[in-house]
Symmetry: C2
Subunit: 168 residues, 2 copies
Amino acid sequence: MISQTVEYALRAIVTIAQHEGRACTAKKLAEITQVPLPYLSKLMQGLVRGGLVTSQRGLHGGFLLTRDLGNLTILDVVNVVEPIKRILHCPLNIQSHGTNLCPLHRRLDNAIAATEKVFRETTVVEMLSEPGSVTPLCEVQKLISLGVGSGAGVKSRPVARQSKSKKK
Amino acid sequence: MISQTVEYALRAIVTIAQHEGRACTAKKLAEITQVPLPYLSKLMQGLVRGGLVTSQRGLHGGFLLTRDLGNLTILDVVNVVEPIKRILHCPLNIQSHGTNLCPLHRRLDNAIAATEKVFRETTVVEMLSEPGSVTPLCEVQKLISLGVGSGAGVKSRPVARQSKSKKK
């Protein structure tokens, strides 16, 4: 139902968000997201073209998000990578159906709509600040050893660049 | 979100159901569902292997459903064609997450669950008997010309074999 490409794109977006405004290199992204570098590079080109991410060159270069995390939803990312296609008219082009979907296609569209709703209602900042949950894509032990804490109950963009994180 | 193969399989199942217990040939199925015959034939092999459909040989041969329409759900069909995969543990194999999904993967699984719920809650008989809606996969004008009525308000399996349908 959710393609690997979409899932990988979301891993990348969440990881960049966790860097709290500091650019994240493709190599670092590939390491944290566990996405093969060539696949990730292609994916990042799409996210840049889609306007969600910008690429910064130079010594402290890497990828940055262009949008406010509080407004950036899962749906925004999905619709850049593989836009959700609702069923708006009869796929069989039955003229008498028109925009009145038959019960089969109505149910299928309801299922797509239910997915779209979950995606629309979740912002990146919500995913990063959910109390009592594990931190997205991060190993708790790693965080503890880096002095970042357990990852639970953080308020926003909690993980920054792991190698430079400090205890808050 | 919903693959063409799944959508085609549902068209086939609904069409066989509309034949009210009479076998439906592959040629007739291909015509009504608008699925290319070679594609449909392969799809039907899968539905036979999955136990949803049986193939009857001979003069009045064709495909028949094996299950009661009141118990056959969209989910049953989907799970034979392309089983829904829930996210049961961390896709990054982060050991400290275990079965506690992070907020990203929890949301993705919620979206899959929402789709699964719509599919689980709809039986084939419900799709065929929905009052006030257009008949699945059928052209109203065709039905009227065949004396079947408008397709609205029918109670169950309304369309039978179109070429032999009689006014009820």
